[in-house]
Symmetry: C2
Subunit: 554 residues, 2 copies
């Protein structure tokens, strides 16, 4: 028996495109002699559909797509994920289901039982867990069908749940396991995924075919890396990261095993590739082509700019250089150099005249008041307004360039440098931004970047970071050094260590109190921030939900 895995980039709610894409894959799988083709979890509507699921109209369209695929299943089995209305009155209205369609019939439906409801996941908001576990017979073989999280409680390794669906199916002696997933990227995720799939295969002694999504849905990026694992515990195949792919596997060959095809997992390369896909899909799925951003000469905007040029093509990226009276000459030079290296259009718009107009407008109100953060914010907001004006006039999306360290401690101006349709680096700590810059500078980029390697000026990487909003300002005037700050933030945000644990780890008590307070009093800013491309296991956004008026550690 031959199994095709179709690792595809779906678009939430775009039923027609998703369907056409799957129908093409069905034809391709047929042509390659597959008996069965597997799509991802909730593939008909894309993942996560969120509250669209609360509309009966939306669910009807999902079911219509399943019907169309059923009609197309002549001579080939189709395994696809879709929401299913729950026929029982009690409980949630839907199940999150895997369908096996064949020759116009529904051979089997398996409802997901383990519903992730943590971090970015809200599945119990919509779905009633499945409670029956049966294999599905197909061409004389028994198949264990499963959806995503249902394989994540093997051997009770994941103590979130009290049951293990595959354990329930094993008495029926299935020949292999199919898993339909929508498992979002973080730079640690691929190894975890392999560990989980391998643990299942070793526990049950049968092969598993694991189909993931690829591509980005706003903040969530799906990396693909779909898996075929043999009973010997070797990864028979790991599909490419961040690209669509369809491959066909012979079950007998997979069962025999002895082949290992894992991909390298370099953290910075993975983050790089994820961000490029994140930008590209955000634009494509919203129907936009062109990006704009402000280049300050600093590292964050430089890295964002190179990533945008990679994702959209240099022709589709335009930058503004927006020097104030506090900008150093080298900032403008560094920014201009980068734009020239990339071959992108740049305009220089000094903001001083507009700043002076604001000063004049507020002259009476501000009489006798010293220059302070207010005037810094006005400058940032003038830049935001100029960038948005260009974006509005010419149809760009403004890219936000704030990094995770700044976003964490609120070192940024709401409605100023926090403007933008999507935050590219909001889940990348400052120290990681430097690593990304060095990585970008070693890449033999070629097209779409004419000058390729070394695009980011050395000076942007090496000079001390500064917002340049008052004379001789440095980030280190008001923040701890980034190598310390980032370690505290990682322990607090990703590892959820409290103040006591952080001090026990060896961090200075006053420093810890100060950093945690900064994080907590700035929830109001993050509440209004652009969505952040998620690359870590705890990004800002839907996966981290904090009270704004909370008084904890603040």
């Amino acid at each position: 028996m031959k199994i095709a895995i179709a690792q595809l980039d779906y678009h939430i709610g775009n039923f027609e495109d998703n369907l056409q894409k799957m129908l093409r894959a069905v034809e391709q799988a047929k042509a390659l002699g597959a008996d069965l083709v597997c799509f991802g979890e909730l593939a008909v509507c894309g993942y996560p559909p969120r509250d669209f699921l609360e509309f009966n109209d939306f669910v009807r369209r999902c079911q219509a797509s399943v019907d169309t695929l059923r009609a197309a299943s002549t001579g080939i089995g189709i395994v696809v994920g879709a929401p299913t209305p729950n026929p029982v009155v009690e409980g949630k209205d839907l199940h999150n289901s895997a369908y096996l369609l064949y020759n116009g019939e529904i051979l089997g439906v398996q409802h997901k039982a383990l519903l992730p409801t943590y971090d970015i996941f809200d599945e119990y908001r919509y779905f009633e867990p499945g409670r029956e576990f049966r294999t599905v017979a197909f061409k004389g073989k028994k198949i264990a069908l499963s959806v995503c999280e249902d394989i994540w409680n093997v051997g009770n390794e994941n103590p979130l749940y009290t049951i293990c669906p595959l354990d329930e199916m094993m008495p029926e002696k299935p020949e292999f396991i199919l898993n339909l997933s929508a498992s979002p990227f973080s730079y640690e995720q691929a190894n975890e995924r392999i560990h989980v799939v391998r643990s299942n295969v070793q526990r049950y002694g049968i092969p598993m075919f694991y189909t993931n999504h690829v591509g980005a849905q706003t903040d969530l990026i799906f990396d693909g890396g779909s898996l075929v694992v043999s009973p010997d515990g070797l990864v028979f195949d790991e599909m490419p990261y961040f690209e669509e792919c369809l491959r066909v596997y012979d079950v007998d060959e997979v069962r025999t095993g002895g082949r290992s095809n894992e991909q390298p997992k370099d953290k910075i390369k993975l983050i790089h590739d994820a961000l490029v896909v994140g930008i590209r899909d955000y634009f494509r799925k919203l129907g936009f082509k062109r990006a704009i951003l402000g280049l300050s000469g600093g590292i964050d905007s430089a890295v964002t700019c190179v990533l945008a040029a990679e994702a959209l093509g240099a022709d589709n990226v335009q930058v503004l250089l927006l020097p104030s009276q506090f900008s150093s000459d080298h900032s403008v030079d560094d920014a201009r150099q980068l734009a020239e290296n990339l071959g992108i259009r740049y305009d220089i718009l000094p903001i001083r005249p507009v700043f002076e107009a604001f000063e004049a407008a507020l002259q009476q109100q501000f009489a006798g008041q010293p220059f302070n953060v207010t005037e810094e914010n006005i400058q940032a907001r003038i830049r935001g307004t100029l960038l948005m004006a260009m974006s509005n006039k010419f149809g760009h999306i403004l890219l936000n360039t704030t990094n995770k360290s700044e976003m964490a401690v609120g070192y940024g101006t709401l409605y100023g440098d926090m403007c933008g349709g999507i935050s590219v680096l909001g889940d990348v700590y400052k120290t990681e931004v430097y690593a990304l810059a060095r990585y970008l500078n070693t890449l033999p980029l070629g097209s779409p970047l004419p000058s390729g390697a070394g695009a980011i000026p050395k000076n942007s990487i090496e000079k001390p970071p500064s917002a340049e909003l008052r004379p001789n300002q440095k980030d280190s005037d008001s923040l701890p050094d980034y190598d310390i700050l980032d370690r505290v933030l990682y322990q607090y945000i990703e590892c959820r260590q409290g103040p006591r644990e952080l001090v026990q780890t060896g961090f200075d008590e006053a420093l810890v109190a100060r950093v945690l307070r900064l994080v907590n009093i700035n929830e109001f800013k993050r509440e209004q921030a652009a969505p952040v491309l998620r690359v870590s296991r705890k990004g800002f956004g839907m996966g981290r939900r904090m009270p704004i008026v909370g008084k904890y550690l603040s």
Copy 2:
């Protein structure tokens, strides 16, 4: 036996304040001869604590508060809600529990079984459901302890759940039911709450004492209205809305019944009172006193301004009048008149010079381009920047004045009139804003409003709405009439009707398609909007989660 209900305004994460407030209530209840005093759900930490619950440090502090209350329970029973670590490895790490403390002991703990995970609720994200249901013995009586949602599945009226916790306890023949709730306000909620409590009491034939929170936690407003219901089905007492209160009830008198004390429930008055509390608590809990907002002469900013003056006192509200070259004279007059009626400080800052500075800055880039929405947005962003500058310099919070109709269809400028720390009217449709204005104008306000009734100029209420961002602009140029628009929006947002259902209801098909598309393509704006004071059963914010790159109906 005498039961005290303490309906209090907690502050999320502010353990010390919450504890002191409860200890004072314990003393007060003792002084009034109560045997038992009841606090709300998760009272020790406030509701909803959201992801603070993922920090062990936070949970330890919750438990420390329970310990302090236990030590204070000499001679009086204390019923209080707190998160409890789940001792079982499998499942979520916490329970959402009600404790009965007495004479330094824990007499009983009941874990919540029905975990709301819909709309603004995320309880299954944190909590494992309780599975054991026992009454608690106190002074020779058996008490059925329950937490919020656990009473909401009576007679299987609420098909979200498959069990009914109180059914399980009834074989032990409790004498009365205590329920600890954190049930957020919507203008329909009080009637629903009474219906549910009454249904329970009638099913079991014993009294119920229902304790709610009061006060606002950012977007969520708790209205109080705690209930005592007698077995005859009459509301023995309904505590006041929107204020703290402690009252003591004799169980025997409640059992006898024959008394009805329900409060009137006028939709517009309830919304008004909720918004005043919402503003007041947002400021108080963040440690701010003073508000600023832009007065346009229109109805939305006028209503927001009066509400702010009521909530914070006229001395603490300051406004800017920010006329552009497109503003009509009457707009400035109407705004000035309102400010004078309220006795608040106003400054007039014409934005034209700043606008011209922006035009000059962009002259080269915009050469040959016609005036369009870009220039409208620049004006809105200049206003936002001026308001934020005043806010930054003098420590105000900027109030956002966008209404729900505008927010729904994206009729507003991101980083412009969408600026603000909290959105006052973002859950109030335009037609309801008019009703609110008329209501405000009939109020005998007195202090803190010196001029009281009729503060909003008649002209602001009667003139056709306009953003005044280009010559002779009217909202009706680009939007359907608000009475039709609001009805379509209500059906789509609150009632989750799809396009087919809306057309069947009688709305024009093209209009429905246009309005739904506007709602869906503007998710990106709402993603970056200020938190919205929630007054309906479906507000924008945490309770409505939509994909940004979604292609559904757009």
